[in-house]
Amino acid sequence: MIDEELVQLLTPEGERVTHPEYESTLSGDEIFGLYRDMAIIRRLCNESTSLQRQGQLALWAPIQGQEACQIGPGRALAPMDFTFPTYREHGIAWCRGVEPKEMLRLFRAVSHGGWDPYKYRYSVPAIVLGNQVLNAVGYAMGVQRDGAEEAVMTFFGDGASSQGDVLEGFVWAASFNVPVVFLCQNNQWGISTPSSVQSKIPLYHRAHGFGFPGIRVDGNDVLAMYEVSKRALENARVGGGPTLIEAYTYRLGAHTTSDDPTRYRIDAEVEVWSHRDPIERVKSLLVHEYKMKQAKFDEVAEEADKLALQLREDVLAMDRPDPITMFDNVYADFHPLIEEGRQEMIDLGVSGGAH
């Protein structure tokens, strides 16, 4: 369909296809689980876009169209694996167990973080894109030194693939053979810049130049995303070194709620990709191969609506933080300027001094 080297196990029409190296190992129930994850995260994402439009969030970065790119690897990860995301990995966050309200603290602009990265083994989101790749490689060097059978997965897009930090990360990962999986979601657009400007060759080809395998996967095929991620992670855990996975996909929505994609891309392109929807094809498989009834899908929709409503309530309940909290966690140890600032704020009566 897009590239003959693309790993695909499920066509956009929901028909299984065979691949010489990969096959789906998932049961019907497990595939339904992936459907549920994708449907819920899309619903939560839409709710978040609405919340932003209603002035309740400072910004939102939608993932519409990229659900399979995230739910596949998200469910392939083992509990002890560690992940280094950007701000658009809501599907990964969901799979790691991060609560939706925790994901939105950043976008509500009440915190720079929102969750305990060690609890979920899901780091704080990188906004300076590319930084997280080096942090992931370093973490993986630590895993290696600990002799632990854990893998590290880090996420970036076609835009950030041009960043020096990403390419330096490739060099280091190869030189030290660290247990890291690079997951590049090539959604074709870095805000308004097409991926053809970021790379003159298919992105996954770059890996070979650095000395490790690169694989292009149909990013809208959750079965393929799951299997390819699973194998790359297993390989990393046992000392097989890094892998680059290019999830070939499309950002159906805007870059963020501040973006206007009609200024730089044509409707026909969006139309083509909307027929390759990651959720519909799985539903089609479940209906035709596993004879799942509509009622099962309706249950998921109902669950997703409930979660969205809960998310809305939780977001609206997130109050403006006490300004004095800006002094918290700047340093781990005493710092005189922090104490001075805190005292000045108390003296000005800006805060009750609680922190």
Binding site: F84, S111, H112, G113, G114, D116, P117, Y118, S123, V124, V128, N131, V133, L134, N135, A136, V137, G138, Y139, A140, M141, G142, V143, R145, D146, G164, D165, E168, G169, V171, W172, S175, D328, N329, V330, Y331, A332, D333, H335, P336, L337
Partner: protein, 328 residues
């Protein structure tokens, strides 16, 4: 009390060795620090004794050296980075400012960024371009970082260990022109706290503040001034962020005059900020406006003419004359 005379380079080497012996999570990472022992030999012999997993010869990529150290710190390691020369730190600037400085905050306190970034800084060694800079001000201006500068072998030995033990990231500035000067190191008792300023010479007529390489120059200036009957108090800042303002304030309130000496250009520098803070605190004690003697607002010059850029004894004494002769 066991004391030993050694160079600053050796003192740093011994300090690193002791920190590595005491905490097996301490790792060294940098360019050419293993077999070669670093271009200044600060890490000489450490890879042989602690292995390649703990003394890591890095590919040539400063952003990656710091960026991977961030990941190692998240994993619970205590990385000590060697940046080969001050002027090579800029490729890592983004990782230092966006991640090292901010991750404790960005993770709501869950991540601790205990790490040390060693930076051979300042000039005076006759090197070529990009090898003699004073970038400490960039880091001191960044919340989340701490910045220190050593000026003696004893401080080098202890401050490197204190920096490694600290839970916040420390930019550790080493005056490379003083690497080969010897001094006595007390191997048993640490001196002051890491960020404390130290009065290196007591005096009554003016306070001269310095850090790194300029401490020794200031002390020489004080020797010369004494022959002319002028008594200078010389203070070694040691901590650049945070500053030990209390010690400086006490001295300036006593002398009523202040001169700050640094190699960095004056604009938005450590010296200009110290003078600002002390003017605010000591205004009624001051007999003259404070003066900063430092580099000019130019890129570090070709080193055949660097001694006309770096603060010399003469230029420091000229600054002293300006604060003592003010109004007369």
């Amino acid at each position: 009390m066991t004391t030993k005379t050694m160079t600053m380079a050796k003192a740093l080497n011994e300090g690193l060795r002791r920190a590595m012996e005491e905490n097996k999570k301490v790792l060294l990472i940098g360019e050419d620090i293993g077999k070669l022992g670093g271009v200044f030999r600060i890490t000489d012999g450490l890879q042989k004794d602690f292995g390649e997993d703990r003394v890591i010869d890095a590919p040539l990529a400063e952003s990656a050296i710091v960026g991977t150290s961030v990941g190692l710190a998240i994993r619970g390691y205590r990385p000590v980075v060697e940046i080969q020369f001050d002027g090579f730190v800029y490729p890592a600037f983004d990782q230092i400012v966006s991640q090292v400085a901010k991750l404790h905050k960005r993770s709501d306190g869950h991540y601790k960024m205990g790490m040390v970034i060693r930076l051979p800084f300042q000039g005076g060694i006759g090197a070529i371009e990009h090898h003699s800079e004073s970038p400490e001000g960039y880091f001191a201006a960044t919340a989340g970082l701490r910045v220190v500068a050593c000026s003696t072998p004893n401080d080098a030995y202890w401050m490197i260990q204190q920096s490694i033990a600290h839970d916040d990231p420390v930019i550790f500035c080493e005056p490379k022109s003083r690497y080969w000067e010897k001094g006595e190191v007390d191997l048993d008792n640490p001196p002051e706290h890491l960020f404390d300023a130290v009065v290196r010479r007591e005096g009554t007529d003016a306070t001269v503040m310095a850090y790194g390489s300029t401490v020794k120059t200031a002390l020489r200036a004080a020797d010369t001034a004494a022959t002319e009957g002028i008594s200078l108090e010389v203070i070694d800042l040691r901590g650049l962020s945070p500053l030990d303002i209390a010690t400086l304030e006490k001295s300036v309130k006593k002398t009523g005059r202040m001169v700050f000496v640094q190699e960095a250009p004056l604009t938005a520098s450590i010296g200009s900020d110290v003078i600002r803070a002390l003017t605010e605190r000591c205004f009624y004690s001051l007999q003259a406006p404070g003066v900063v003697v430092g580099g000019y607002h130019v890129p570090y010059p070709p080193t055949r003419i660097e001694e006309d850029y770096r603060p010399s004894v003469d230029r420091i004494l000229d600054g002293v004359d300006r604060v003592i002769g003010f109004g007369s």
